[in-house]
């Protein structure tokens, strides 16, 4: 081969243009619904219109009689194959197709398999189901009190509607600190039920080939390997015969972590009918039946001394899980990582308790762009701290500074047992206030108030815990939370990187190539990144909880370094020098003190054409990375709003977001992640929720009721950064996919509350709709009279 190609090595720190965008922009992506196989059949699901009712009878005769219908599957049919129920990721069970009764509106009761999706939809309307209504529980408090109507009557020994109970922290010490406190601040608030609502809904094409025994399952999956293993365990299929392919995925946000009944039915149907079966949800099916998020009712309390020092925190959570406890979360932690709720503050003790309720609502509790309930945790502490400031007559900035964990305290062990890897909270708050021009803004706010205008400034200084695991503590359904990378460098110096994680828009095909470039000197455009196909990638737990860079990214860096070590041996051989005399210089080995060098591409060529004696030929390898700890991204967000006192509408005037996610691999991609998260945070704070009427009807099952902000409503964001590397990550990076969704809701709500503070408004519930703001103003005015 000819002398080294000397292209620029654009490794870590470069805003490389996202390589995946071209195919998405010109419409050449390959999403689930683009998968079309010969002889493929189509499935439609028949769902319950009622929230709680016994199934008296199911008549499929009319549906079966329709031309083009191949089969109608009911729970009874699945029961015969022991598939009527499946395990959830929280160790509960979930009905695949209801056999005894339905437990939420939209629950899967039967499935029609037909020659076209149109016929399947027509036939679904012809399945006759008789129901006998039962009492309906949509309020978790009422469900928990009740022992007469047991929603989970299927579970042996279940005599109430309690899904789980859990606690963390030190009760005795916390109680003592509260007893000694000068001041206690309390807040009861609800983090409402939201839905990740990815642009692409969930679906699958199950292709079980009767001749080969091979089951190829195309799946909108954030975790293809874990899903393959679960398919093997649930369906009893031999794992070597299962291939899960997650094609281009149009957003996941946690919604595509669980296994849904539709996947199981389609796979069973394909097996029995010996034909591929496609199932793609409609928008309403996605919103009404697949993994929702949040729905945490929280009672938070802070104990403080008179000078504003926080000594302890208490929080009791009543969580609403709907009909099945289907949170996607590590086994050990029943309320996810919500015990990170002491946040950025140094306190002596905390006690967190949680009790989960079964209700007649859709199941779920997925981590919507969030590392297992960190969003709820961050929300309660940031709301409480602001309330504490008001009650103690301190500024929200001063109280934060007073209680921040200080830079020199890291690594910091929190009172609920997390070991924060690194942080500099003062620096990020300083930066945010400087960008905002805090003093001027406060003067402007006060002047506006003097004129009777309602202007407010809200702050949130969050700390996240992301990047699960280590594998000692973290697993999903028993599978340890490590991740992997396989790197093959070809003779011409080009490479393929294969990942155990799975991109749904995060930009892995770009950023992971940059990690390799950084460590091995091969430019990103010479590296193809593969993911999502279990036959062709090493095992991994998938992408959610901001874990790809902390785990898969670390694995990538480590394997690239291992190959560099091998390349060094080859370089020594080529340069006829000893390894000790060689120096690495971004993409080549140089003989110290000379201008003699060989590039990584030269080494790659030699690995296949001229390997050193005794050295294994080739330049490839795989690494499984088990992180020593989680990473702890943090940031400071500040929002300025003005409220229209006549209509209650509020407008974001400024939104400053300073994020510290350690070392930034691709600053542009990081900014994109933050923009998306800030938008979703704004949606939750201002307009988005799913609720249920007393009859258990879902309000929010379409985009008329479940609102997604457009570019018009979305505030303009001003981004800033500080960089505090993770000490244990190979390149110092922390996860960033979720920081903004986690940190921003409290900042928006705090800003509106600050605007209404002069009127005496103490609490607003999300979503802070204009109607709620107006009602709060009226109530405060009435109270003042």
């Amino acid at each position: 081969m000819e002398p080294s190609e000397q292209k620029a090595v654009r490794g870590v720190g470069h805003s490389v243009r996202r390589v995946e965008d071209d195919r998405f922009i010109v419409g050449r992506g390959n999403y689930l619904d683009d998968v079309k196989l010969p002889r493929m059949l189509h499935m439609a699901i028949v769902r319950s219109p009622l929230a709680h009712a016994t199934i008296e009878s199911i008549d499929i005769s009319e549906a079966m009689a329709l031309e083009g219908v191949v089969a109608v599957v009911t729970g009874k049919d699945l029961e015969a194959h022991k598939l009527a129920w499946m395990p959830t990721l929280s160790g509960d069970t979930q009905a695949v197709l209801a056999t005894d009764k339905v437990r939420f509106q939209g629950q899967e009761v039967a499935a029609v398999i037909a020659e076209s999706p149109y016929v399947a939809a027509d036939a679904a309307e012809l399945v006759e189901i008789e129901y006998e209504p039962l009492d309906i529980f949509v309020d978790p408090y009422k469900a928990l009190e009740n022992t007469e109507t047991i929603i989970r009557s299927d579970k042996e020994g279940q005599a109430d509607n309690v899904a789980y109970e859990w606690e963390a922290g030190d009760k005795a010490k916390t109680d003592q600190l509260f007893a000694e406190a000068d001041h206690v601040v309390k807040l009861h608030t609800h983090y409402p039920r939201s839905h990740p609502a990815p642009l692409e809904t969930c679906g699958c094409v199950a292709d079980v080939n009767g001749a080969t025994g091979k089951a190829t399952i195309y799946l909108t999956s954030q975790a293809p390997h874990a899903h393959r293993t679960l398919f093997a365990l649930v369906a009893g299929l031999p794992e070597q015969n299962i291939r899960v392919i997650s094609p281009d995925v149009g957003g996941g946000f946690g919604n595509k972590v669980p296994i849904y009944p539709g996947y199981v039915v389609a796979t069973a149907a394909s097996l029995l009918l010996d034909a591929p079966v496609k199932w793609v949800e409609s928008r309403s099916e996605n919103l009404m039946s697949t993994g929702f998020a949040r729905d945490y009712h929280m009672d938070g309390e802070l104990a403080l001394t008179s000078d504003g020092t926080i000594t302890a925190m208490r929080c009791h959570i009543t969580s609403d899980h709907g009909a099945f406890f289907a949170d996607a979360q590590p086994t050990k932690f029943r309320a996810g990582l919500v015990h990170i709720c002491t946040g950025s503050y140094d306190m002596q003790a905390a006690h967190i308790t949680a009790k989960g309720a079964y209700t007649n609502k859709a199941p779920g509790g997925v981590a919507y762009r969030c590392s297992f309930r960190v969003t709820e945790a961050s929300y309660i502490i940031e709301r409480l701290v602001q309330n504490a400031a008001y009650e103690l007559g301190m500024s929200p900035v001063e109280i934060r500074r007073k209680n921040f964990i200080k830079k020199e305290q890291f690594p910091y062990t929190s009172c609920t047992g997390f070991i924060y890897d690194s942080g500099d909270y003062d620096a990020s708050l300083d930066k945010a206030l400087e960008m905002l021009g805090y003093d001027e803004i406060m003067a402007e706010r006060d002047a506006a108030r003097a004129e009777g205008r309602l202007m407010g400034v809200g702050i949130a200084t969050f700390t996240e815990v992301v990047g699960a695991g280590n594998s000692k503590e973290y697993d999903i359904a028993g599978l340890k939370m490590f991740d992997s990378a396989e790197l093959r460098v070809h003779p011409t110096g080009k490479a393929i990187l294969k990942l155990g994680v799975q991109t749904q828009g995060q930009g892995h095909e770009t950023t992971f190539a940059q990690i390799v470039a950084n460590e091995l000197g091969i430019p990103p455009e010479d590296i193809a990144v593969g993911h999502g196909d279990t036959d062709n990638t090493p095992y991994g737990l998938g992408t959610y909880a901001s874990r790809s860079t902390p785990t898969g990214g670390a694995a990538t860096a480590v394997i690239a370094r291992k190959l560099r070590d091998k390349a060094k041996k080859i370089a020594a051989h080529l340069l006829e020098a000893s390894e000790g005399d060689l120096e690495w210089d971004s993409n080549k080995f140089v003989v110290k003190g000379t201008d003699k060098s060989v590039s990584i591409q030269d080494c790659a060529f030699a690995a296949y054409t001229n390997p050193p004696d005794g050295e294994e030929p080739g330049l490839e390898g795989v690494h499984y990375y088990d992180p020593p700890n989680m990473t702890y991204p943090f940031g400071a967000y500040a929002v300025v709003v003005e409220v229209d006192p006549e209509t209650g509408e509020w407008e974001v005037k400024r939104m400053v977001a300073v994020d510290d996610c350690g070392v930034r691999i691709n600053p542009m991609v990081v900014d994109g992640q933050i923009h998306g998260g800030l938008t979703e945070g704004y949606a939750m704070a201002s307009m988005q929720y799913i609720h249920y009427d007393d009859d258990g009807n879902c309000v929010g099952g379409n985009f008329i009721d479940y609102l997604i902000p457009t570019a018009v409503e979305t505030p303009k964001f001003e981004l800033g950064e500080t960089v505090t590397p993770s000490p244990h990550h190979p390149i110092g990076a922390k996860g960033v996919g979720e920081s903004a969704t986690v940190g921003s809701p409290a900042a928006y709500v705090n800003a509106v509350l600050d605007a209404l503070q002069p009127l005496g408004v103490k609490n607003l519930e999300m979503p802070v709709t204009s109607g709620r703001v107006w009602e709060a103003i009226q109530a405060a005015k009435a109270a003042a009279e």
Partner: protein, 288 residues
Amino acid sequence: MYPPRFDYVAPTSLEEALDALAEHGDEGKIIAGGQSLIPMLKLRFASPETLIDINRLPGMDGVSEEGGTLRFGALCRHNQLGAHPLMTSKYHVVAEAGTLIADPLVRNMGSLGGSLCHADPQADWGSVMIALKATIVCQKKGATREFGAAEFMEGIFTTKLADDEIVTEIRCDAANGGFGSSYLKMERKVGDFATCGTAIALTLKDGTIASAGVGLTAMGAKNLHAEDAEKVLVGQAPSAELFAEAAEAAVAIADVREDSRGTPEYKKNVLRTFMKRGLAKAALRAQA
């Protein structure tokens, strides 16, 4: 979401279209922009046997102001009206509603006639046409009927339109001097239906209000004609007190329920606020 099976015809003249309607009776359904009908089909709320596509009918998408009459073809698109120079300079209530309906994709397809025939109480055009005191022209084979806008809309999704009729045109008196109008709409996001909408048209003569038109969106089972508010206004000089009084008259006819947009008190409060703001805006334009 897949609609049930249907047949489809695409006539190229009004005559053909009326024949098709006569032939299919209540099993035929006109499709214009499809921005209400197609969602209804996909949700399987509607299952007509035959769709009669009127988009190829010539001459039904024009706007003209001639001989003291302002005419809109039924196929005028929301976007077309929102951007029309005559509307943006003179009939602001039309231009403003045209840009506040739905989102650009829907606005490019959705038609004025389709919106009126769909008669969603949360839709905007009905209120605008009430404020302009417009006449809706319905044609069937061999006969034409005309209705005032307020009379045409009967209730939630119901109108005077018969199965064999097409709305061909909407017309109203052209404005002379002293005309000012406005459309205000509260939406939670772009593409949202109204929490409240107020369509106002005023004509001022010698410092007093000579005529007033007020239509209300999302305040009841159909677009409401706020006649009492109009009565309060006519013959009086514009003032904040007068507008407040007219606002109360409008609030008095609002019949609203609690939902995720707010309580009845809240919605009425928005109506009160928008009436005052909308009247002030229209009056200012009338004086300009």
